[in-house]
Amino acid sequence: MPTEPTETHDLIRFENVTKRFGDTTVLDDLCFSVRPGRHVTLIGPSGSGKTTILRLLMTLERPDAGTIRVNGGKLHPADEKHRREVRKKIGMVFQHFNLFPHMDVLRNLTEAPVRVLGLDRDEAEQRGRDLLELVGLSDKAHARPAQLSGGQQQRVAIARALAMRPKVLLLDEVTSALDPELVAGVLDLLRDIARTTDITMLCVTHEMGFARDISDEVLMFDSGKVIESGSPEKIFGDPGHERTREFLGAVL
Protein backbone atom coordinates (compact mmCIF):
# COMPACT_ATOMS: atom_id res chain seq x y z
CA MET A 1 0.00 0.00 0.00
CA PRO A 2 1.62 3.31 -0.99
CA THR A 3 1.50 5.55 2.01
CA GLU A 4 1.87 9.30 2.09
CA PRO A 5 5.33 10.28 3.27
CA THR A 6 4.92 11.04 6.92
CA GLU A 7 8.65 11.48 7.29
CA THR A 8 8.99 14.73 5.40
CA HIS A 9 12.73 14.82 5.94
CA ASP A 10 13.27 11.92 3.56
CA LEU A 11 14.99 13.18 0.44
CA ILE A 12 14.36 10.00 -1.51
CA ARG A 13 11.56 7.52 -0.94
CA PHE A 14 10.76 4.35 -2.83
CA GLU A 15 7.25 3.20 -1.97
CA ASN A 16 6.34 -0.30 -3.13
CA VAL A 17 8.25 0.13 -6.38
CA THR A 18 8.15 -2.68 -8.90
CA LYS A 19 10.12 -2.76 -12.14
CA ARG A 20 10.06 -5.51 -14.73
CA PHE A 21 12.05 -6.07 -17.89
CA GLY A 22 9.97 -8.48 -19.93
CA ASP A 23 9.30 -11.48 -17.70
CA THR A 24 12.05 -10.59 -15.25
CA THR A 25 11.08 -8.70 -12.13
CA VAL A 26 14.16 -6.68 -11.19
CA LEU A 27 12.58 -4.69 -8.36
CA ASP A 28 9.84 -6.32 -6.36
CA ASP A 29 7.62 -4.11 -4.19
CA LEU A 30 10.68 -2.23 -2.99
CA CYS A 31 10.52 0.27 -0.11
CA PHE A 32 13.36 2.32 1.26
CA SER A 33 14.20 5.91 1.98
CA VAL A 34 17.23 8.13 2.23
CA ARG A 35 17.56 11.23 4.40
CA PRO A 36 19.48 14.26 3.16
CA GLY A 37 23.22 14.15 3.48
CA ARG A 38 23.37 10.40 4.03
CA HIS A 39 25.69 8.10 2.13
CA VAL A 40 23.90 4.93 1.26
CA THR A 41 25.58 2.00 -0.45
CA LEU A 42 23.68 -0.68 -2.31
CA ILE A 43 25.37 -4.06 -2.38
CA GLY A 44 24.29 -7.45 -3.60
CA PRO A 45 24.79 -9.95 -6.40
CA SER A 46 24.72 -8.81 -10.04
CA GLY A 47 21.23 -8.60 -11.45
CA SER A 48 19.67 -7.86 -8.08
CA GLY A 49 18.30 -4.53 -9.29
CA LYS A 50 20.75 -2.10 -7.66
CA THR A 51 21.60 -0.20 -10.84
CA THR A 52 17.92 -0.04 -11.78
CA ILE A 53 17.26 1.96 -8.62
CA LEU A 54 19.72 4.63 -9.71
CA ARG A 55 18.32 4.63 -13.24
CA LEU A 56 14.77 5.04 -11.92
CA LEU A 57 15.87 8.02 -9.84
CA MET A 58 17.58 9.58 -12.85
CA THR A 59 14.36 8.99 -14.85
CA LEU A 60 16.22 6.80 -17.33
CA GLU A 61 13.60 4.14 -16.57
CA ARG A 62 9.98 4.23 -15.43
CA PRO A 63 8.62 2.09 -12.61
CA ASP A 64 5.85 -0.39 -13.46
CA ALA A 65 4.20 0.14 -10.10
CA GLY A 66 4.71 2.10 -6.93
CA THR A 67 5.83 5.64 -6.19
CA ILE A 68 9.23 7.26 -6.18
CA ARG A 69 9.47 10.57 -4.37
CA VAL A 70 12.28 13.07 -4.42
CA ASN A 71 11.84 15.85 -1.88
CA GLY A 72 8.27 14.67 -1.36
CA GLY A 73 7.25 15.10 -5.03
CA LYS A 74 6.34 12.11 -7.17
CA LEU A 75 8.46 11.32 -10.24
CA HIS A 76 5.55 9.50 -11.93
CA PRO A 77 3.01 10.59 -12.81
CA ALA A 78 4.32 14.11 -13.11
CA ASP A 79 4.77 16.58 -15.91
CA GLU A 80 8.09 16.66 -17.71
CA LYS A 81 8.83 20.10 -16.27
CA HIS A 82 8.71 18.74 -12.74
CA ARG A 83 10.97 15.84 -13.69
CA ARG A 84 13.43 18.28 -15.24
CA GLU A 85 13.57 20.25 -11.99
CA VAL A 86 14.19 17.04 -10.07
CA ARG A 87 16.93 15.96 -12.47
CA LYS A 88 18.79 19.23 -11.89
CA LYS A 89 19.20 18.22 -8.25
CA ILE A 90 20.53 14.76 -9.08
CA GLY A 91 23.90 13.99 -10.62
CA MET A 92 24.94 10.61 -11.91
CA VAL A 93 28.28 8.98 -12.61
CA PHE A 94 28.17 5.97 -14.91
CA GLN A 95 30.14 2.78 -15.08
CA HIS A 96 31.42 3.67 -18.56
CA PHE A 97 31.90 7.41 -17.85
CA ASN A 98 29.80 8.55 -20.84
CA LEU A 99 31.83 11.70 -21.37
CA PHE A 100 31.08 13.63 -24.54
CA PRO A 101 33.96 12.51 -26.78
CA HIS A 102 33.75 15.44 -29.21
CA MET A 103 34.17 18.09 -26.52
CA ASP A 104 37.31 18.84 -24.54
CA VAL A 105 37.34 18.20 -20.81
CA LEU A 106 36.46 21.74 -19.78
CA ARG A 107 33.58 21.87 -22.26
CA ASN A 108 32.25 18.62 -20.81
CA LEU A 109 32.13 20.40 -17.46
CA THR A 110 30.62 23.69 -18.67
CA GLU A 111 28.01 22.61 -21.20
CA ALA A 112 25.23 21.80 -18.74
CA PRO A 113 25.93 24.62 -16.25
CA VAL A 114 25.72 27.09 -19.15
CA ARG A 115 22.75 25.54 -20.96
CA VAL A 116 20.74 24.34 -17.99
CA LEU A 117 21.65 26.53 -15.03
CA GLY A 118 22.20 29.63 -17.16
CA LEU A 119 25.69 30.42 -15.88
CA ASP A 120 27.67 32.69 -18.15
CA ARG A 121 30.60 30.97 -19.78
CA ASP A 122 33.35 32.61 -17.69
CA GLU A 123 31.59 31.65 -14.50
CA ALA A 124 31.07 28.08 -15.71
CA GLU A 125 34.71 27.79 -16.79
CA GLN A 126 35.90 29.03 -13.41
CA ARG A 127 33.70 26.44 -11.71
CA GLY A 128 35.00 23.82 -14.15
CA ARG A 129 38.64 24.68 -13.43
CA ASP A 130 38.03 24.57 -9.68
CA LEU A 131 36.54 21.12 -10.07
CA LEU A 132 39.40 19.94 -12.26
CA GLU A 133 41.74 21.01 -9.49
CA LEU A 134 39.64 19.07 -7.00
CA VAL A 135 39.88 15.90 -9.11
CA GLY A 136 43.57 16.47 -9.80
CA LEU A 137 43.34 17.12 -13.53
CA SER A 138 44.04 20.85 -13.83
CA ASP A 139 46.43 20.25 -16.69
CA LYS A 140 43.84 18.34 -18.76
CA ALA A 141 41.29 21.12 -19.33
CA HIS A 142 41.78 21.03 -23.09
CA ALA A 143 42.39 17.33 -23.56
CA ARG A 144 39.82 15.16 -25.30
CA PRO A 145 38.34 12.32 -23.26
CA ALA A 146 39.99 9.76 -25.57
CA GLN A 147 43.41 11.11 -24.57
CA LEU A 148 42.79 10.29 -20.90
CA SER A 149 43.10 7.03 -19.00
CA GLY A 150 39.93 5.38 -17.74
CA GLY A 151 40.60 6.62 -14.23
CA GLN A 152 41.10 10.17 -15.45
CA GLN A 153 37.94 9.97 -17.53
CA GLN A 154 35.97 8.83 -14.52
CA ARG A 155 37.35 11.70 -12.45
CA VAL A 156 36.25 14.10 -15.17
CA ALA A 157 32.82 12.45 -15.13
CA ILE A 158 32.61 12.99 -11.38
CA ALA A 159 33.60 16.62 -11.84
CA ARG A 160 30.98 16.97 -14.59
CA ALA A 161 28.27 15.70 -12.26
CA LEU A 162 29.44 18.01 -9.45
CA ALA A 163 29.48 21.03 -11.78
CA MET A 164 25.70 21.01 -11.59
CA ARG A 165 25.91 21.35 -7.77
CA PRO A 166 23.53 18.42 -7.24
CA LYS A 167 21.93 17.57 -3.91
CA VAL A 168 22.19 13.88 -4.72
CA LEU A 169 25.00 12.01 -6.40
CA LEU A 170 24.30 8.60 -7.91
CA LEU A 171 27.35 6.41 -8.42
CA ASP A 172 26.77 3.40 -10.63
CA GLU A 173 29.64 0.92 -10.28
CA VAL A 174 32.01 3.75 -11.09
CA THR A 175 35.17 1.66 -10.80
CA SER A 176 33.96 -1.54 -12.48
CA ALA A 177 35.29 -0.59 -15.91
CA LEU A 178 38.68 0.57 -14.63
CA ASP A 179 42.02 -1.19 -14.67
CA PRO A 180 42.83 -2.30 -11.12
CA GLU A 181 45.66 0.20 -10.65
CA LEU A 182 43.34 3.12 -11.46
CA VAL A 183 40.61 2.21 -8.99
CA ALA A 184 42.25 3.67 -5.89
CA GLY A 185 42.53 7.21 -7.32
CA VAL A 186 38.84 7.36 -8.11
CA LEU A 187 37.77 5.90 -4.77
CA ASP A 188 40.04 8.30 -2.84
CA LEU A 189 38.43 11.18 -4.66
CA LEU A 190 34.96 9.95 -3.76
CA ARG A 191 35.98 9.46 -0.12
CA ASP A 192 37.14 13.09 -0.16
CA ILE A 193 33.86 14.27 -1.59
CA ALA A 194 31.88 12.20 0.89
CA ARG A 195 33.89 13.63 3.77
CA THR A 196 33.96 17.28 2.74
CA THR A 197 30.50 17.91 1.27
CA ASP A 198 26.96 17.44 2.52
CA ILE A 199 25.94 15.83 -0.74
CA THR A 200 23.63 12.82 -0.48
CA MET A 201 25.19 9.77 -2.09
CA LEU A 202 23.63 6.63 -3.44
CA CYS A 203 26.31 4.24 -4.44
CA VAL A 204 26.21 0.89 -6.20
CA THR A 205 29.56 -0.80 -5.78
CA HIS A 206 31.42 -4.04 -5.51
CA GLU A 207 34.26 -2.37 -3.61
CA MET A 208 33.42 -3.47 -0.11
CA GLY A 209 36.29 -1.60 1.54
CA PHE A 210 35.07 1.61 -0.04
CA ALA A 211 31.48 0.85 0.96
CA ARG A 212 32.61 0.36 4.55
CA ASP A 213 34.53 3.67 4.53
CA ILE A 214 31.96 6.04 3.13
CA SER A 215 28.60 4.56 4.06
CA ASP A 216 26.23 5.64 6.80
CA GLU A 217 24.00 2.83 5.75
CA VAL A 218 24.36 -0.30 3.63
CA LEU A 219 21.44 -1.95 1.87
CA MET A 220 21.85 -5.58 0.92
CA PHE A 221 19.85 -6.55 -2.15
CA ASP A 222 18.77 -9.89 -3.40
CA SER A 223 16.22 -10.67 -6.11
CA GLY A 224 14.81 -7.16 -6.25
CA LYS A 225 14.34 -6.70 -2.51
CA VAL A 226 16.30 -5.22 0.36
CA ILE A 227 16.91 -8.26 2.50
CA GLU A 228 18.97 -6.51 5.12
CA SER A 229 20.06 -2.98 5.94
CA GLY A 230 22.11 -1.31 8.62
CA SER A 231 25.35 0.42 9.47
CA PRO A 232 28.45 -0.84 7.66
CA GLU A 233 29.75 -2.18 10.98
CA LYS A 234 26.60 -4.27 11.33
CA ILE A 235 26.39 -5.50 7.74
CA PHE A 236 30.06 -6.29 7.29
CA GLY A 237 30.76 -7.27 10.89
CA ASP A 238 27.69 -9.17 11.92
CA PRO A 239 25.35 -9.82 8.99
CA GLY A 240 21.99 -11.15 10.07
CA HIS A 241 20.84 -12.74 6.85
CA GLU A 242 22.14 -15.97 5.41
CA ARG A 243 22.26 -14.53 1.85
CA THR A 244 24.30 -11.54 3.07
CA ARG A 245 26.85 -13.87 4.68
CA GLU A 246 27.07 -15.91 1.48
CA PHE A 247 27.47 -12.81 -0.66
CA LEU A 248 30.12 -11.22 1.55
CA GLY A 249 31.90 -14.54 1.80
CA ALA A 250 32.09 -14.65 -2.00
CA VAL A 251 33.30 -11.07 -2.58
CA LEU A 252 35.57 -10.36 0.40
Binding site: L60, R84, I90, G91, F94, N98, F100, H102, R115
Partner: protein, 216 residues
Protein backbone atom coordinates in the same frame (compact mmCIF):
# COMPACT_ATOMS: atom_id res chain seq x y z
CA UNK B 1 34.96 9.96 -86.82
CA UNK B 2 36.65 13.30 -86.80
CA UNK B 3 37.30 15.33 -83.68
CA UNK B 4 36.70 18.99 -84.35
CA UNK B 5 38.25 21.37 -81.81
CA UNK B 6 36.33 24.28 -83.26
CA UNK B 7 33.09 22.49 -82.30
CA UNK B 8 34.42 22.37 -78.76
CA UNK B 9 35.16 26.07 -78.88
CA UNK B 10 31.69 26.81 -80.22
CA UNK B 11 30.11 24.84 -77.40
CA UNK B 12 32.13 26.56 -74.67
CA UNK B 13 29.73 29.45 -73.84
CA UNK B 14 26.77 27.10 -73.58
CA UNK B 15 28.86 24.67 -71.57
CA UNK B 16 29.71 27.27 -68.92
CA UNK B 17 26.05 28.23 -68.62
CA UNK B 18 25.15 24.56 -68.23
CA UNK B 19 27.89 23.92 -65.70
CA UNK B 20 26.65 26.82 -63.62
CA UNK B 21 23.11 25.45 -63.62
CA UNK B 22 24.33 21.93 -62.79
CA UNK B 23 26.34 23.22 -59.83
CA UNK B 24 23.45 25.37 -58.68
CA UNK B 25 21.10 22.38 -58.74
CA UNK B 26 23.71 20.32 -56.90
CA UNK B 27 24.33 22.86 -54.13
CA UNK B 28 20.68 23.77 -53.52
CA UNK B 29 19.54 20.17 -53.98
CA UNK B 30 22.13 19.01 -51.42
CA UNK B 31 20.99 21.64 -48.94
CA UNK B 32 17.40 20.45 -49.34
CA UNK B 33 18.43 16.80 -49.08
CA UNK B 34 20.53 17.41 -45.95
CA UNK B 35 17.90 19.48 -44.14
CA UNK B 36 14.81 17.55 -45.14
CA UNK B 37 16.60 14.25 -44.49
CA UNK B 38 17.18 15.38 -40.92
CA UNK B 39 13.51 16.22 -40.56
CA UNK B 40 12.57 12.73 -41.79
CA UNK B 41 15.13 11.15 -39.46
CA UNK B 42 13.65 13.03 -36.51
CA UNK B 43 10.25 11.80 -37.70
CA UNK B 44 11.47 8.19 -37.60
CA UNK B 45 12.26 8.65 -33.92
CA UNK B 46 9.10 10.57 -32.99
CA UNK B 47 7.33 9.40 -29.88
CA UNK B 48 3.95 9.22 -31.61
CA UNK B 49 3.04 6.56 -34.13
CA UNK B 50 0.89 9.21 -35.82
CA UNK B 51 4.12 10.93 -36.87
CA UNK B 52 6.34 7.89 -37.41
CA UNK B 53 3.92 6.10 -39.70
CA UNK B 54 3.21 8.83 -42.28
CA UNK B 55 6.90 9.74 -42.39
CA UNK B 56 7.76 6.13 -43.04
CA UNK B 57 5.14 5.77 -45.82
CA UNK B 58 6.04 9.04 -47.56
CA UNK B 59 9.80 8.45 -47.53
CA UNK B 60 9.49 4.83 -48.69
CA UNK B 61 7.20 5.96 -51.48
CA UNK B 62 9.61 8.62 -52.68
CA UNK B 63 12.63 6.37 -52.28
CA UNK B 64 11.16 3.53 -54.31
CA UNK B 65 9.86 5.53 -57.27
CA UNK B 66 12.23 6.72 -59.99
CA UNK B 67 13.47 10.28 -59.87
CA UNK B 68 12.52 10.80 -63.51
CA UNK B 69 8.91 9.85 -62.80
CA UNK B 70 8.88 12.29 -59.89
CA UNK B 71 10.33 15.02 -62.10
CA UNK B 72 7.64 14.49 -64.74
CA UNK B 73 4.95 14.35 -62.11
CA UNK B 74 6.00 17.58 -60.43
CA UNK B 75 6.53 19.36 -63.74
CA UNK B 76 3.54 18.18 -65.78
CA UNK B 77 0.91 17.11 -63.24
CA UNK B 78 1.21 19.64 -60.43
CA UNK B 79 0.39 22.60 -62.73
CA UNK B 80 -3.00 20.98 -63.36
CA UNK B 81 -3.66 21.49 -59.67
CA UNK B 82 -2.54 25.09 -59.91
CA UNK B 83 0.96 24.59 -58.52
CA UNK B 84 3.53 25.78 -60.99
CA UNK B 85 7.27 26.40 -60.65
CA UNK B 86 9.97 26.99 -63.23
CA UNK B 87 11.72 23.90 -64.60
CA UNK B 88 14.84 24.78 -62.63
CA UNK B 89 12.96 25.18 -59.34
CA UNK B 90 10.98 22.00 -59.94
CA UNK B 91 14.11 20.06 -60.80
CA UNK B 92 16.01 21.30 -57.76
CA UNK B 93 13.12 20.54 -55.41
CA UNK B 94 12.60 17.10 -56.94
CA UNK B 95 16.21 16.02 -56.71
CA UNK B 96 16.50 17.43 -53.18
CA UNK B 97 13.31 15.69 -52.09
CA UNK B 98 14.34 12.41 -53.70
CA UNK B 99 17.76 12.38 -52.08
CA UNK B 100 16.39 13.50 -48.72
CA UNK B 101 14.88 10.03 -48.38
CA UNK B 102 18.36 8.53 -48.77
CA UNK B 103 20.06 10.97 -46.43
CA UNK B 104 17.28 10.25 -43.92
CA UNK B 105 18.43 6.63 -43.78
CA UNK B 106 22.03 7.75 -43.38
CA UNK B 107 21.10 10.09 -40.54
CA UNK B 108 19.09 7.34 -38.92
CA UNK B 109 22.04 4.95 -39.01
CA UNK B 110 24.37 7.65 -37.70
CA UNK B 111 22.06 8.60 -34.85
CA UNK B 112 21.46 4.96 -33.92
CA UNK B 113 25.22 4.45 -33.76
CA UNK B 114 25.64 7.05 -31.00
CA UNK B 115 25.86 4.99 -27.81
CA UNK B 116 22.86 5.01 -25.47
CA UNK B 117 25.19 6.26 -22.74
CA UNK B 118 25.43 9.62 -24.51
CA UNK B 119 21.65 10.11 -24.32
CA UNK B 120 21.73 9.02 -20.71
CA UNK B 121 24.54 11.40 -19.80
CA UNK B 122 22.60 14.23 -21.45
CA UNK B 123 19.51 13.31 -19.43
CA UNK B 124 21.55 13.07 -16.23
CA UNK B 125 22.81 16.60 -16.90
CA UNK B 126 19.22 17.79 -17.49
CA UNK B 127 20.05 19.03 -20.98
CA UNK B 128 16.79 19.86 -22.77
CA UNK B 129 15.89 17.81 -25.83
CA UNK B 130 16.98 20.32 -28.46
CA UNK B 131 20.35 20.85 -26.72
CA UNK B 132 20.87 17.11 -26.51
CA UNK B 133 20.30 16.85 -30.25
CA UNK B 134 22.36 19.87 -31.24
CA UNK B 135 25.38 19.60 -28.97
CA UNK B 136 25.60 15.93 -28.05
CA UNK B 137 24.00 13.60 -30.59
CA UNK B 138 24.23 15.30 -33.99
CA UNK B 139 27.92 16.30 -33.83
CA UNK B 140 28.82 12.69 -33.10
CA UNK B 141 26.43 11.28 -35.68
CA UNK B 142 27.63 13.69 -38.39
CA UNK B 143 31.23 12.66 -37.90
CA UNK B 144 30.27 9.08 -38.64
CA UNK B 145 28.09 9.82 -41.62
CA UNK B 146 29.92 12.67 -43.36
CA UNK B 147 31.51 10.29 -45.93
CA UNK B 148 28.15 8.63 -46.69
CA UNK B 149 26.55 12.04 -47.19
CA UNK B 150 29.43 13.00 -49.46
CA UNK B 151 28.82 9.93 -51.59
CA UNK B 152 25.19 10.92 -52.02
CA UNK B 153 26.24 14.37 -53.23
CA UNK B 154 28.30 12.65 -55.92
CA UNK B 155 25.39 10.38 -56.82
CA UNK B 156 23.20 13.47 -57.00
CA UNK B 157 25.64 15.15 -59.36
CA UNK B 158 25.38 12.17 -61.68
CA UNK B 159 21.57 12.35 -61.56
CA UNK B 160 21.39 16.03 -62.56
CA UNK B 161 21.21 15.16 -66.31
CA UNK B 162 17.75 13.71 -65.59
CA UNK B 163 16.65 17.32 -65.28
CA UNK B 164 17.20 17.62 -69.04
CA UNK B 165 13.99 15.60 -69.21
CA UNK B 166 12.04 18.66 -68.07
CA UNK B 167 14.25 20.99 -70.14
CA UNK B 168 16.36 22.44 -67.33
CA UNK B 169 19.36 24.03 -69.01
CA UNK B 170 22.01 22.01 -67.22
CA UNK B 171 25.09 20.62 -68.98
CA UNK B 172 23.44 17.76 -70.87
CA UNK B 173 20.52 19.86 -72.07
CA UNK B 174 22.98 22.51 -73.29
CA UNK B 175 24.87 19.89 -75.29
CA UNK B 176 21.61 18.66 -76.83
CA UNK B 177 20.69 22.20 -77.86
CA UNK B 178 24.15 22.62 -79.35
CA UNK B 179 23.90 19.37 -81.29
CA UNK B 180 20.42 20.24 -82.55
CA UNK B 181 21.86 23.38 -84.11
CA UNK B 182 25.21 22.09 -85.40
CA UNK B 183 24.49 18.37 -85.92
CA UNK B 184 27.72 17.69 -84.07
CA UNK B 185 27.15 15.25 -81.23
CA UNK B 186 30.60 13.92 -80.40
CA UNK B 187 32.26 17.07 -79.09
CA UNK B 188 29.52 18.54 -76.86
CA UNK B 189 28.65 15.15 -75.32
CA UNK B 190 32.31 14.35 -74.75
CA UNK B 191 32.94 17.70 -73.10
CA UNK B 192 29.99 17.12 -70.76
CA UNK B 193 31.16 13.60 -69.93
CA UNK B 194 34.68 14.78 -69.18
CA UNK B 195 33.29 17.57 -67.00
CA UNK B 196 31.45 15.00 -64.88
CA UNK B 197 34.65 13.01 -64.41
CA UNK B 198 36.61 16.14 -63.51
CA UNK B 199 34.13 17.02 -60.77
CA UNK B 200 33.17 13.58 -59.51
CA UNK B 201 36.60 11.97 -59.31
CA UNK B 202 38.30 14.59 -57.11
CA UNK B 203 35.11 14.72 -55.04
CA UNK B 204 35.27 10.97 -54.44
CA UNK B 205 38.94 11.28 -53.45
CA UNK B 206 37.91 13.98 -51.00
CA UNK B 207 35.24 11.73 -49.53
CA UNK B 208 37.76 8.92 -49.17
CA UNK B 209 40.21 11.21 -47.37
CA UNK B 210 37.41 12.39 -45.11
CA UNK B 211 36.54 8.78 -44.39
CA UNK B 212 40.11 7.98 -43.41
CA UNK B 213 40.49 11.12 -41.33
CA UNK B 214 37.28 10.49 -39.38
CA UNK B 215 37.81 6.76 -39.01
CA UNK B 216 40.36 6.75 -36.20
Amino acid sequence: MNWDWSAVADFTPRFWDGLLVTLQVLVLGSLIAFTLGLVWAAGFRAGSRLVRWPVHVVTEFIRTTPLLVQLFFLFFVLPEWGVQFSALTTGTLAIGLHYSTYTAQVYRAGIDAVPAGQWEAATALSLPAHRTWLTVILPQALRRIAPALGNYVIAMLKDTPLLAGISVLEMLQQSRLESAETFQYTEPLTVVGVAFVLIAYPASLLVRTLERRLAH
